[in-house]
């Protein structure tokens, strides 16, 4: 598909809807292996992000993502705030001056977002963090023509579920060492919602 401002805004809106209805669940996941605030953090941040982008007139997708980045950075806090903030900032930077955005350009943006998260979090794939979802999604999007919305959602979901069995070495869950196994990573779950929302937008706009 080709991306326009409407789709970018819809993405944030749909993500927010998913976050809000799963707020308690995200908090539960974080209670098991973290400090129990991930649902609160994400809900606070995306609520504001949606409020901002829904009420602003945008000329470019880059601007939508820039505002999203700014809001997330200043409202989420914790570990996930700077990471999601960085992700949207990187996407905004890659997509600057590109409107509408092609599939390939969007894949580049996600890849850059992933790199930003890795760098900011000093983490890599396999450490039971949101990177474990962003990585396969970025890979998947690079596949070019073949990408389908359903497949995207599946990829993200599978990646999220895989975090259940891995050992955490970054983030708060790392304190638990072996006890971190057996629980899905909260940040990977919120990232799954993000990509589930993306798939939804895609289905509608295709």
């Amino acid at each position: 598909m080709v991306w326009k401002v409407e789709q970018a805004v819809a993405w944030i809106e749909k993500t927010n809807a998913l976050i809000q209805s799963n707020k308690e669940y995200l908090t539960e996941l974080d209670q098991a292996i973290g400090d129990g605030d991930h649902g609160l953090n994400m809900s606070r941040g995306f609520q504001e992000a949606e409020a901002k982008v829904s009420s602003t007139d945008y000329d470019t997708i880059a601007d939508v993502f820039k505002d999203t980045a700014t809001v997330l950075m200043s409202k989420v806090g914790g570990a996930s705030g700077p990471l999601y903030g960085t992700a949207f900032l990187k996407m905004s930077m890659v997509l600057k001056g590109k409107d509408p955005v092609t599939q390939a350009e969007f894949a580049d943006a996600v890849e850059e977002a992933l790199n930003g998260i890795k760098q900011r979090g000093k983490a890599d794939q396999g450490e039971k963090t949101m990177i474990d979802v962003w990585h396969p999604v970025a890979d998947f999007l690079k596949n070019g023509q073949n990408v389908q919305a359903e497949k995207l959602e599946e990829t993200a979901q599978q990646a999220m579920e895989n975090t259940k069995d891995t050992l955490a070495t970054k983030g708060r869950a790392a304190y638990l060492q072996e006890r971190s196994r057996g629980h899905v990573d909260p940040g990977s779950t919120s990232s799954f919602y993000l990509f589930q929302a993306l798939a939804d937008v895609w289905k509608e706009g295709a």
Binding site: D37, N41, K75, G78, G81, P82, T169, K170, R172, A174
Partner: protein, 331 residues
């Protein structure tokens, strides 16, 4: 969990307001932020100290604002690191041209948010240095992970680095002192009950009526072992052993200690722990020069405590003895 609050969303803001109103002689608000500033900030000629982190650890961090300790504290939401935009405002407000020193507890979120603010401040030409406190021996100290948590030992950094700054130390000198404190401080905690973030409404974990969680973090992050409760002396011994057997060589040394209440544990129990710790250190040939018993770094209404031991030298002792005048710490 019953709480004395109005709306969960307003807890941090109202708490800061109530704090400011209680201590007008010490702090003022930085309008439109969650930053509280030392009344006379920026203090000319002095390196400024900023600490902060998630709320819920009161009296940390605003309680340590004042002469000889912090110039500003940045409050995040409950148990959630503050965001870079708040931190940068604090940095700008306290810098008198002598540089700003950030005291960061080693949590991924805190480190990232503070470092982003630091990058922004440096881009604006402000000299910023930092220390990352990681005193919690409950967590393995590994280069493959984000490492150990910062807990009550942070208060020693506030006090000693703060005194160094108050005495006119340069940004580098303040940093060196802070690093020395971090290198010589080890802590560990235990929880008897969980705590509940106001917005969440559910306790962070569950403990049976006879269970304790050894190695608890100050955000209710699970510890290293769940076990049956034993006597005060036994629990203290278990924590102390881990603390003393870690990488600092405490043999024949002088130390300062904190018996820190996590929130709901009565002072009487903290003193019972102190009794054991003092006797035990004495037997081990370790001399306690400074003792602090009370709530210094809490975890909402969690019951439990932590033990912090810091090896001190002459300069550190002098800096501990130096005057400090803040709402929560006076000398």
């Amino acid at each position: 969990m019953k709480k004395v609050i109005n709306q969960a969303d307003d807890v941090v803001e109202e708490m800061l307001e109530g704090f400011r109103m209680a201590h007008p002689g010490y702090v003022r608000a930085l309008e439109g932020t969650t930053v509280l500033l030392r009344n006379d900030a920026p203090v000319s000629g002095k390196v400024a100290l900023i600490s902060g982190g998630g709320s819920g650890h009161e009296p940390a961090h605003a309680g340590y604002i004042g002469t000889g300790m912090l110039d500003a504290a940045v409050a995040g939401e409950m148990f959630t690191s503050p965001t870079p935009d708040q931190i940068i405002e604090a940095i700008k407000a306290v810098d008198s041209g002598n540089g700003v020193f950030l005291v960061i507890k080693n949590y991924t979120g805190d480190v990232m948010n503070f470092e982003m603010a630091r990058e922004m401040a440096e881009a604006e030409g402000i000299s910023v240095e930092q220390v990352v406190v990681n005193d919690d021996v409950a967590v393995e100290d590994s280069s493959f992970t984000s490492g150990r948590r910062g807990i009550a030992g942070t208060v020693f950094v506030h006090k000693i680095a703060g005194a160094k700054a108050e005495a006119g130390g340069s940004l580098q000198e303040v940093k060196q002192m802070a690093e020395k404190v971090v290198a010589n401080t080890r802590s560990m905690g235990v929880a008897l009950t969980p705590c509940t973030i106001p917005g969440s409404g559910r306790p962070n974990f569950q403990l049976e009526d006879d269970e304790i969680e050894v190695g608890i973090g100050i955000h209710g992050e699970p510890g290293i072992e769940r076990k049956k409760i034993s006597s005060a002396d036994d629990i203290a011994e278990e924590l102390l052993q881990k603390v003393l057997k870690d990488s600092v060589d405490f043999n024949d040394s002088e130390v300062a200690i904190i018996i820190n209440g996590l929130g709901a544990t009565p002072e009487s129990e903290l003193y019972i722990v102190n009794r054991y710790v003092q006797n035990r250190l004495k037997e081990s040939g370790i001399k306690v020069t400074h003792t602090y018993v009370g709530e210094y770094m809490t975890s909402l209404e969690m019951a439990g405590f932590s033990i912090t031991v810091m090896k001190v030298d002459e300069e550190m002792k002098q800096l501990l003895d130096a005057g400090a005048d803040t709402p929560a710490f006076r000398r």
